[in-house]
Symmetry: C2
Amino acid sequence: MSDQGATPIPTLAPPIPSGRPPKMTNRGRTAVPISSSNSETTDIPEFEPFGMPGPRGFPPMTEYLDIWDVDMMKKPDESNRIQHRTMLFNTDYLIVRRGQEFQVKIVFDRPYKPGTDIFAIEFAIGSSPQYSKGTYIPVFLTKARQSSWGGRIIGTADNTVTVGVTPTADCIVGKYNMYIAVKTPFGIRRTRQDKTRDLYVLFNPWVSDDAVFLDDENERQECVMTEMGIIYHGAYDDVSERNWNYGQFNFGVLDACLYIMDRSEMLITNRGDPIRVTRKASAMLNSRDDDGVLVGNWSGDYTYGVAPTSWTGSTDILLTYASSKMPVCYAQCWVYAAVFNTFLRCLGIPSRVVTNYFSAHDNDGNLKTDIILDENGRIDRGRTKDSIWNYHCWNECYMSRPDLPTGFGGWQVVDATPQETSDGMYRCGPASVKAIKHGQICFPFDAPFVFAEVNSDVVFYTRSKDGALEPVKVNRTHVGRMVVTKTPGDVTRRDITDQYKFPEGSAEERAILEKAEEYGCQREKAEPSEADVDLVLPTLDVQLGDDFELSLEFINRSNQHRTVDTHISVNVVFYTGVTSSEFLLRNPTVTIGPNKTVKELVQVESKSYLKNLVEQGNLHVSVTGKVEETGQIVTAMKVYALHNPKLTVTVSDGGKVNEEMTATVEFTNPFTFGLEGVSIRMEGSGLMLPKSKYYSLIPARSSLVWTEFFIPQRVGSSRVIVTLDCAALRQVSGQASVTISR
Amino acid sequence: MSDQGATPIPTLAPPIPSGRPPKMTNRGRTAVPISSSNSETTDIPEFEPFGMPGPRGFPPMTEYLDIWDVDMMKKPDESNRIQHRTMLFNTDYLIVRRGQEFQVKIVFDRPYKPGTDIFAIEFAIGSSPQYSKGTYIPVFLTKARQSSWGGRIIGTADNTVTVGVTPTADCIVGKYNMYIAVKTPFGIRRTRQDKTRDLYVLFNPWVSDDAVFLDDENERQECVMTEMGIIYHGAYDDVSERNWNYGQFNFGVLDACLYIMDRSEMLITNRGDPIRVTRKASAMLNSRDDDGVLVGNWSGDYTYGVAPTSWTGSTDILLTYASSKMPVCYAQCWVYAAVFNTFLRCLGIPSRVVTNYFSAHDNDGNLKTDIILDENGRIDRGRTKDSIWNYHCWNECYMSRPDLPTGFGGWQVVDATPQETSDGMYRCGPASVKAIKHGQICFPFDAPFVFAEVNSDVVFYTRSKDGALEPVKVNRTHVGRMVVTKTPGDVTRRDITDQYKFPEGSAEERAILEKAEEYGCQREKAEPSEADVDLVLPTLDVQLGDDFELSLEFINRSNQHRTVDTHISVNVVFYTGVTSSEFLLRNPTVTIGPNKTVKELVQVESKSYLKNLVEQGNLHVSVTGKVEETGQIVTAMKVYALHNPKLTVTVSDGGKVNEEMTATVEFTNPFTFGLEGVSIRMEGSGLMLPKSKYYSLIPARSSLVWTEFFIPQRVGSSRVIVTLDCAALRQVSGQASVTISR
């Protein structure tokens, strides 16, 4: 080391620092901060001079228009709200849908002089409004100067001018500030920002130029305008219903939806694109990564929050998130789907909640769900790690897909449930339902994952002594057994399985599975020979607390005797298909004469399952066996969703708008033990906001009655829906229909 | 409220809780925790009995094989390492590439009896090894029992058996535990887990069944085996180089790469798929969301970390991340790309760093970059919010794309630089380069974004008095001006622009832009008439600290006089194109005779730019003007990357393996001010690990000399690379070539 001055003096370099750095600025990275918040606004100056003022400043501009008042015509019964179908929103603002004209009345200080007076209506959104980004839109009212949003003068009367404004059908969705700007020879003079003139612009499924255009009024009424919904659960052959109040028109819900996008730091400029909006929202509805809306919990322990089964609607969840700015506890799949549905309907994207029975959920887009049997044909629970959800709920939303080749618009799957075990997928979709049906899973977003949820095979392996596995049975029809949603305009369910899959066993189905394989999905190729003994489990309707009998039917299709070493296992399972406890186990040897049928009876006593029950009261029966004569494997699996006791809900007669009514909930604890820490929740669209009561104890066999007063807000039919929830008994519900007249 | 017992007592329901919940378990959600860590292992039992022991337990099993020793043949000069091309790894373990046989010698307690003795070699990875998931692989050595991985006995000699094992070409990449299992009539007996027998399996571009197969030895040598790289920066017509030591074979680097995947909680079962591995890594290389490897910082203030320009290689960064388990500060695009390149080459995925000059970076997949001029034709910096990066570096990696239709395999763009201003894209790719070239941007992942980076148009608007914007010039050739990478096997650069785009102006180019538009990319449709005055900026080679002259050439292509009101603005810019300060501004009026050329000279003095300099010493000259006679707009923009002083690096003569050598760095501060807080870093692949020195002050005009001793580790040519970095002067470098003989 040589130096030619007093220094340089070398020292040991400091260690390389790591860790959370101080908060970064955009310096060096971007010219200005990019707007990703709809709640931040920039005030546009009240006067923009064209040049320098003269020596005495600008002359008084009394001869130019002055604005006295602006009427947004925003009352629920005014034409803007009715024609834009936003009359149900409980709001103080004008809410319109894009691609469709709305009217504003401007009152000047004197009559308007066409040809002489020049004014424009300006709209701005976000913190850095910019013409070229569509965040600042001046609307001119003459044919000569057209801007992107249409503008025209509809009529004049005295000092009042009625103006029509048509936002483009692809404009940004959110909350705009509005200004009136008057041109003078010296500069632009504009109104001060006035919050009461803020304008919300939503997606518009009624307009053909909008990417969310849905050409079916019945569907639009259901998928945008309907607040009360039904979400299906249970089992494919014993479907249960949950009522849900989406509440998309409730006070504060629209602002909460915009807050969700702000919280995700979604660029303002992307908020007109339903593909980006829905994809971002699928990430934001769960709390993973981004402190989104809902925390998932499948454990059965909901001590620090509300049990997923306890919610009656989305309003509480969204308003709590928007006010606390922290994730809300807790959700499971239908809660994610329901709140996502509120978000979508609120913004005007047609959407519905669908339920897929036997959803292959945790296999990360693989088309195989593996069940490992030991060499005696019994399920090896230690080695069987895949699970099939009894059901899974997701959303479909309707939009065109300009990012894909033609043919893949229409319904799109989006799913906000975090796929924690599938390589950390915390967002899913939009994936075209048509692309899934046709095996075109090479297109964004996440189509292979959704394809596997409805198309996986269940592969049974036996494990030999030295550890090798051999496929012995492939069930190609179990998964994706049925996909259902609520019928538009009705309270019945609609089977939409055919929108996801061609019929099982059809030539198309086979061709499409082969196509999916070309795109990298792995399938089991083995075709193990089918056993000549069939095993059928009964369909049962069992009340929680009942003893019941399982009658297993063994059908010998051969001309010889068959002896089946059978393993019958009855388990309490979570709805995710995960076993909580095995409480009944039988290993009968069943002998069946040639071409005969034998019934094996198994008694299931309530005392054996009640003490092990978790969550939704699902019992999973699996029967596996090995035919002694052939070595072939026989299997059958079925989920029995036990029926919970019901709440009785009654509503007083003769409902009229603004006249007080009562709703009464009755419940009797049917058990021999007390129920502790019981929450009851009640709500009803257009009837009442969510209400809840908490009981520290409902003693054995004891009853409660809760009567609540409410004042209906609008005409039409609706429902009061109620849930009861405690650690020992979940998913108890009741409802009553109400028709309100004027 | 009525109750029939003493209770129930209703109380106010507790408020809905929100906030960070207690840590969740997998209970109810999955049957067992899913393995997402390669560092967790499960020990497989040493004895697995086939049945119950007899009354005196199992008999002594002296007649069955006992294992005395296992030789993994893992020394760098042994055939496994040479044939698998892993000899350069500095490691104590056997590292092989999948789809290719390696050998293991097993020493038994007695000679092996073929046909009688039955044993298997077992491999297990992750915490829940499972046959059906490919995480537990028993390898049988007889033709009768084939397992997924090939196995054969190559030879026997005395008690030693040489075994060949061939992992499948799609197996999981990572670290496996190995066991030898001997079958006895009573059960399986196996070796205890022994860390020294752990096996690393990598991707294999030399094997045609591997998804990363690259059929070009020259490319494979460069993109997998080469540690010393060159990354290009500067300007497209004045390209500069950065030397970088990827160091993928350095001790600890492979473990750090596996740690990155563990840290991302990537499922073990997905780690054989290069699509998933590269996508996950593009997210994990940056610290956004997931506490990944590198913290981005473009601000010029690197007080709490290492300046991005100061790094000489990836080793320090990766080892610091793996030991501290916290993000490392700081990175800009080439640092992300360089460390990502190390990750990819280390795991055996062919990869290279590419540089795109004039990268449209912050426009979120939009094909427009907007520049706003005021009505006099001068850039309106307050309203111009898009920026074009002088250059941007990303990675290409080579793989097949079974998830896409045929034709899109080969090089794939992946990018780890967080796109903070593009809707929070913190991962990017893999996007097929062929798909980008052909406008097929409907396929995953993030193709529209990459397409825009090389294909955007620059649109100049003038803003009229009332705020409306009108496009006045569209430059369709500025963005994506050139894409370059290092030539395989050479130290020159290779222009690969033609792999991303058809020639500018060709029919194919136009067709492909139209196709991209079909997939939703927005372009400027206006074709404003071109001005008949051309403006040309000179190409210059300027040393930092020089005064220089800009000669602006105005070419009048018309037959009339032209008068141009010109605005010349010279700015110090970040490499992101963001302006730091405008230090020179001229507004000359230039008059040009018919068909004449006029030169306008602008003097740029070093004193005016030196005090404003940031980062990489980039000056941006923009000239805009309005032709008085026609109202047309004339523009020209150019970046001048000032050339920094160099370090002089000399290395002692006659380099031999294991013989001490010296490297000497010399630097003279050329400025009239002292340089404070100076870091110097030095490293060289196969020569020395990263070393650094810190000088608190290098006085004005003073020199330093730093001599470092080192011992070369391997034969061949390499380079010693050195950087000097301080707040006042960044990106000073030097290098010396070294050839080491035996």
